[in-house]
């Protein structure tokens, strides 16, 4: 802070705050409560509820001399105004004296509470907010014990109405503080709520169609200071004082939002945000909040299954483990270790992924190790990843964020919230993508590549943006977007580049790494690459070496020193032969395949027939997926809330979570399954817990060496510091009247592994620009005249196995559709809503046609993961896109 801090006195406590701090926040820093309803520390002050009125005095100044007046004792004279002042809209200034405990202030608080309660239904006994309700708490603390308002004259509204698919509004309880309205506008970037009417008849309404169209809607229930907004998930399920909060990390995307599972009777009753200012602050997206039902889903695998006479039948663990061990031994003996392979999903925790790689390399003896979908496939992040110490709150003016091949809102929603706020603070956003997304509306420049020419367009941008970059003229008129993008990058003090799977599959990552390295935007906070995968541990999968050519810590498998170090601790040497990638394994490159936590058949990247031909297919899963149905042995695993472990998020923050619910069934964590198989194969593995695995990781994985349990459990300095056990209830650690019902973080804010100054010897030179830099974008490969390019796109709410049990989210999952632009629809002679048949190289599927402005001409965007008769990835045969024909169905 360049400006000088100002000194003020609140109730006799002298404190210094940053200029521009309002009195409520200043008092909060001093541990003094100025009660609030409308104010919220993350929102702009509005001064509506008048609960925060305090006495404010300023140093008296002699108008003649301009000097501060001094009393007889030499102390400065302070004059108090005749009226009380709203603490949320008054800013601290030098010498100010604030009194919050005087009779006038107390009387005014009583008055405002009595006013607010005149229209309140006082239905606390049936209100879900009861027990964690600011109105209730502040009334007990400051309010009158009784009301003089006549009950029968209360303003009545019809009882709760759904204001959106996930949130219910009770207008009688609403105190019209506009926190929800302002959250949607200022933070979420979805200004879909507003006030309607006026006076006591004023009410919150949603203007969007469908109503409350926002992936952040659940947060309004956290910051609602009364029981006006409640979630459909938690309504009437439990009382807040009955639940025990267990800290967790969201499993649904790579942001790694900190959350707490509120448990009652061994059941997750709701998911609440757990504060982490460097990850999710106090917010969660609706997928994270409402998509928690997978753990207790009725179709969870509860017992091992073994194929007997062509059918999968229940078996004991002993039988199943023996079948796996014997099967692996048989294949290894007959065809060699290279005939065995393993593919893991990148939503498995670090411990499981580490043991997975270790098992295949050191116990089986093969480098055929890979993970799906696999965003990080080399050491790019190690060399050019975003600097440790990056804070979203610091991203603002002077920072440019380039977002490449990533639909932030659909793939990592909290990042959209951060980017929206960063832009409000003055950051510039540049979007490089093939199709429209909501981020376009916030961007200073939007660059579109045609599918098929991604690399050339990215290379053009990078060439122009690098120092001494060539003047590049866009081949097509782009409305100045290229020069605007180059300017935004060139003028940036800090540059962050976020990329997703679309960018990675198109091969853009080397160019992006070259951009940040070539412009010097590496190794510092708020600078560098952020690889935004689709799953919780996309980064961890690469870090744990679940790749055919990289060992844990992204050490090349050819690195002698690295191999020696691992071999010293592992039960066997690291194989020297290069392993197969997942695609090669799935295409028949191996005879035996271990699959853990991924469903290549369901995701369309494998053909069931190929897997049927394997000598051994072992699947470790939560559900009987399409892949599991082909397996010889299916082993039930545990989901994150049922066990403990760590995830590494897209900013390389390693975060721990603990077991929240007791598993229903015989499932075991994946690391334990692999350990047990190893034991069956005669190799004793030294782990008794995920913590043991983590200890080995800190010892053997470069980069993770600084990761001690104490680092994981460190709590930010501005949050409660008392030492708590992982299972201690978090319920008390909240400041509901100030922050809302989000939990404070007592479990640790995680630890970011360093990229630039870790002292690891294996780090290579910074990435060099690609050798070929096209100045001009080539002609796109034109599909046949009437063909469209089918492009699979990800959706936040889909029919993925982890969401299938969350019925509250089901109404938000669309039926399969393909989106085309109006001119293509016209050319095809089809209108919006038509049932169409999509004929593709990989088969055909039925869908509804959506005509959407902004879809690239010639493209049909097809959201993957819906209830497709043929998965989209199968239609495009696992490629990024494929030419298809679209015609009216049933013709």
């Amino acid at each position: 802070m360049s400006e000088e801090r100002v000194t003020l006195t609140i109730d006799g406590i002298v404190l210094q705050v940053d200029p521009g701090t309002n009195l409520v926040d200043a008092a909060h820093e001093a541990g003094i409560e100025i009660p609030i309803f409308c104010h919220h520390p993350y929102l702009e002050p509005v001064g509506m509820c008048r609960m925060c009125l305090v006495e404010v005095g300023l140093p008296a100044v002699d108008p003649a001399t301009g000097a501060a007046e001094q009393g007889p004792d030499g102390a400065p004279v302070v004059r108090f105004g005749p009226k009380l002042v709203a603490g949320c809209t008054a800013l601290a200034c030098e010498g100010m004296v604030v009194r919050t405990g005087t009779p006038a202030v107390s009387a005014q608080r009583r008055a405002v509470l009595e006013f607010l309660l005149t229209s309140h239904p006082l239905d606390c006994p049936v209100c879900d907010k009861g027990g964690e309700c600011p109105l209730q708490n502040l009334t007990m603390r400051y309010g009158p014990g009784t009301s003089r308002f006549v009950w029968a004259e209360k303003y009545r509204f019809p009882k709760p109405v759904p204001i959106g698919p996930l949130v219910v509004l009770d207008r009688e309880r609403c105190v019209l503080c506009a926190r929800c309205v302002r959250f949607q506008e200022e933070l979420a970037g979805d200004p879909v709520l507003g006030f309607e009417s006026r006076a006591r008849g004023m009410e919150i309404v949603s203007y969007s169609d469908p109503p409350f169209r926002s992936v952040f809607s659940g947060n309004t229930t956290d910051i609602c200071p009364v029981g006006a907004l409640t979630t459909v998930d938690f309504r009437f399920q439990a009382r807040p004082w009955e639940v025990v909060a267990v800290p967790g990390v969201c499993v649904h995307c790579a942001v790694g939002c900190n959350l707490a599972y509120d448990i009652r009777h061994g059941r997750v009753e709701r998911v609440m945000p757990r504060r982490n200012d460097e990850v999710n602050e106090i917010w969660l997206c609706d997928k994270g909040r409402f998509g928690h039902h997978f753990a207790s889903a009725p179709d969870r695998l509860r017992s091992p299954l073994v194929r007997r006479e062509g059918r999968l039948v229940e078996a004991t663990w002993d039988e199943a483990l023996a079948a796996v061990a014997d099967g692996l031994a048989a294949v290894r003996n007959a065809h060699g270790a290279a005939a065995v392979g393993g593919i893991a999903g990148d939503h498995l925790p670090n411990e499981d992924l580490y043991v997975f790689g270790r098992f295949l390399r050191a116990v089986v003896g093969t480098n055929n190790v890979d993970h799906l979908p696999g965003l990080c496939r080399d050491d790019t992040v190690l060399r050019a990843g975003v600097g440790a110490g990056t804070r979203w709150a610091d991203v603002g003016s002077g920072t440019t964020v380039l977002v490449v091949g990533l639909d932030v809102e659909e793939e990592a929603p909290l990042l959209f919230l951060h980017l929206h706020r960063a832009r409000r603070r003055g950051a510039r956003l540049v979007v490089l993508s093939g199709r429209p997304s909501k981020l376009d509306g916030l961007a200073a420049a939007v660059l579109r590549y045609r599918y098929g020419e991604e690399e050339a367009v990215a290379a053009t941008l990078v060439a122009a943006a690098l120092p001494g970059g060539r003047e590049v003229r866009a081949r097509r008129a782009d409305g100045g977007a290229l020069s605007a993008a180059v300017a935004a990058i060139g003028e940036a003090r800090d540059l962050m580049v976020l990329f997703g799977h679309e960018a990675q599959r198109a091969g853009l990552v080397p160019a992006l790494a070259a951009l940040v390295a070539g412009t010097g935007h590496v190794g510092r906070p708020n600078n560098g690459l952020v690889a935004v995968g689709r799953h919780a541990n996309a980064q961890g999968a690469a870090d744990m070496g679940v790749l055919p050519d990289w060992l844990p810590g992204t050490v090349p498998f050819t690195d002698q020193e690295g191999c020696r170090r691992l071999a010293a601790a592992w039960p066997g040497p690291v194989p020297t032969a290069r392993g197969l990638e997942a695609a090669a394994m799935l295409a028949g490159g191996v005879r035996a395949l271990m699959v853990a936590g991924t469903d290549p058949v369901g995701a369309g990247s494998a053909v069931a027939d190929t897997l049927m031909g394997l000598d051994l297919l072992v699947v470790q899963e939560l559900f009987l997926t399409a892949t599991a149905r082909q397996a010889h042995v299916v082993l039930p695993a545990l989901s994150a809330p049922e066990r403990d472990g760590t995830f590494t998020n897209c900013m390389r923050r390693v975060q721990r979570f603990s077991a929240a619910v007791r598993p229903d069934g015989l499932g075991r964590p994946d690391w334990q399954i692999l350990r047990d198989v190893a034991v069956r194969m005669g190799v004793s593995e030294p782990y008794a817990s995920a913590g043991d695995v983590l200890q080995e990781i800190t010892r053997l994985v470069p980069g993770y060496s600084g990761l001690a349990p104490a680092a994981l459990g460190a709590v930010p300095p501005d949050q409660p510091q008392d030492i708590v056990l992982p299972f201690a209830p978090l319920t008390a650690a909240r400041d509901v009247e100030y922050l809302g019902t989000a939990y404070e973080n007592r479990f640790g804010a995680g630890w970011v592994w360093p990229v630039a100054d870790g002292g690891d010897t294996h780090r290579g030179p910074p990435p060099a620009p690609p050798a070929v830099m096209a100045d001009l974008t080539p002609e796109p490969a034109t599909p046949p005249a009437d063909a469209m390019l089918l492009v699979p796109v990800p959706l936040l709410y889909d029919r993925g196995t982890m969401l299938e049990a969350s019925l509250v989210l089901r109404p938000l999952v669309p039926r399969p559709y393909v989106a085309v632009c109006p001119s293509d629809a016209q050319r095809l002679g089809l209108v919006h809503g038509t049932a169409v048949c999509v004929r593709a190289p990989g088969g055909s599927a039925r869908a509804l046609l959506r005509v959407v402005e902004g879809v690239p001409p010639g493209c049909a965007l097809a959201p993957d993961g819906l209830a497709w008769t043929t998965p989209v990835v199968t239609l495009v045969q696992g490629r990024r896109y494929a030419p298809v024909s679209i015609e009216a169905a049933g013709a």
């Binding site: 002050p45 509506m48 509820c49 405002v112 006013f115 003089r148 006026r198 004023m202």
Partner: protein, 425 residues
């Protein structure tokens, strides 16, 4: 004291509503002179020197307000507040209908003075006729080259847009008006920043009342000294007093500020039917009632009325005769404020709602013990706690009725209920 017409000149000169008539009376000459020969700052200086104070109610010095507009580059706006909604106020309505060009010329002078190219006239939602008349005046002036681009070849552009409100009293408050004008819900904004710095669309904006701006052309024409020769030193000029209620001749009367109420009452024909005066509401529903004994010799300027513990406001005097029950009057003003509270801040939203509930009990003969004390308590709880003046104004009539006309509550509190004995037949 005879009427003195500065704003209501049509009363002297006959019809001024057409452009031809207004020009025949020297109309738009001041605008032409200012644009052709005066610097913008000179216009502001004249208005400042004249001591003209805002006629919308607050009485803020107009020239000072104009001078607050910063000199930075970029657009700025003049907004004419024609959201005349105060009960008993009907002066802007007459000016808009009968002398619209004088207000437009004043608005154009204001725009020239502060460097604005765009003027919005925000009209009360119910002003259909007024808006039609005003729009015709704007169109006529534009066709005649008196508004629009490149006025008198000096490169000055002044466009006027007539905009309809949606019928909310709060939109007479300048920041709520600006929110409404921007298409948002009409609710007041936090001040500071003041509109002169951050106003319409975030740009410097001068918001002036219709009557205020109608005073500007005469001031520019005759000079500050002439204007100061009218009225008092603190409240120079004339004021259009809207007189309503129990008088023989209700209507607008333009008189120099500082005129004793007695003379205004005489002009209005005195209290009707020969009855005695009971009280006067000097500023519609928004000022404490003044008992008859204190009002007759009261000079009607902002300082004198404030000294008496009330507010001159927009000078819309509602005269109440001896038959009126002041508790009923307070009930009526409360009902108005309960209906017009924007709902933004809780003391006003809930306080007016609660006051109204208690008054309905009293008037409806359903009084509960302690209701009178409860009224006092609610008013006390609202006092000084509201976000904008509306909530504070809502307390004025109830509070003064309790203080000065307590006997009017006696029967009601005993459960008698009922309307005032002497309302309109």
């Amino acid at each position: 004291m005879p009427e003195r017409f500065v704003v209501l000149r049509h009363r002297e000169l006959g019809d001024l509503s057409s452009l031809r008539a207004y020009r025949a009376a020297g109309g738009y000459e001041q605008l032409q002179r200012a644009v052709s020969t005066m610097k913008p700052a000179e216009v502001t200086a004249v208005v400042r020197a004249s001591g003209l104070r805002g006629r919308g109610g607050a009485g803020f010095p107009t020239g000072a307000k104009w001078a607050f507009v910063p000199d930075d580059a970029g657009p700025r706006y003049v907004v004419v507040n024609n959201d005349e909604s105060e009960p008993g106020t009907f002066k802007d309505h007459e000016i808009t209908l009968a002398n619209p060009h004088q207000m437009l010329e004043g608005a154009a002078l204001a725009a020239y003075a502060v460097g604005a190219e765009t003027v919005y006239v925000y009209c009360r939602g119910e002003f259909w006729h007024e808006m039609a008349r005003l729009q015709r005046a704007v169109d006529d002036a534009r066709r005649a080259g008196l508004l629009g681009a490149d006025l008198w070849g000096r490169g000055v552009r002044i466009d006027v847009h007539v905009v309809a409100g949606a019928g909310a009293y709060i939109c007479g408050e300048e920041t709520a008006l600006l929110s409404s004008l921007e298409g948002d819900l009409g609710q007041p904004r936090l001040k500071p920043p003041f509109p002169t710095v951050t106003g319409l669309f975030g740009r410097p904006t001068v918001v002036n009342n219709v009557e205020t701006l109608a005073n500007v052309p005469p001031i520019v024409a005759h000079g500050a000294d002439w204007y100061r020769s009218l009225g008092t030193s603190g409240s120079p000029g004339t004021k259009v007093f809207s007189v309503s209620g129990h008088v023989e001749r209700p209507g607008n009367y333009e008189l120099p500020l500082g005129v004793p109420f007695r003379e205004l009452l005489e002009l209005a024909g005195g209290v009707w039917r020969g009855r005695a005066l009971k009280a006067v509401l000097p500023s519609g529903a928004s000022a404490p009632a003044i008992p008859a004994a204190a009002v007759m010799d009261l000079r009607l300027d902002w300082e004198s009325v404030a000294e008496r513990g009330s507010l001159l406001g927009s000078a819309s005097l509602i005269v109440l005769d001896e038959t009126v029950n002041m508790a009923w009057v307070a009930a009526m003003t409360t009902r108005f404020f309960e209906h017009e509270s924007c709902g933004k801040c809780s003391p006003c939203r809930e306080g007016t709602f609660w006051l109204d509930a208690v008054y309905r009990r009293l008037i409806g003969g359903r009084a509960r013990p302690g209701d009178r004390a409860l009224l006092g308590a609610i008013i006390g709880q609202m006092d000084g706690a509201c976000f904008c003046p509306l909530g504070e104004f809502a307390q004025c009539v109830p509070r003064s009725s309790l203080a000065d006309f307590g006997q009017d509550y006696d029967a009601l509190e005993a459960g008698a209920g009922g309307r005032p004995a002497g309302g309109r037949p």
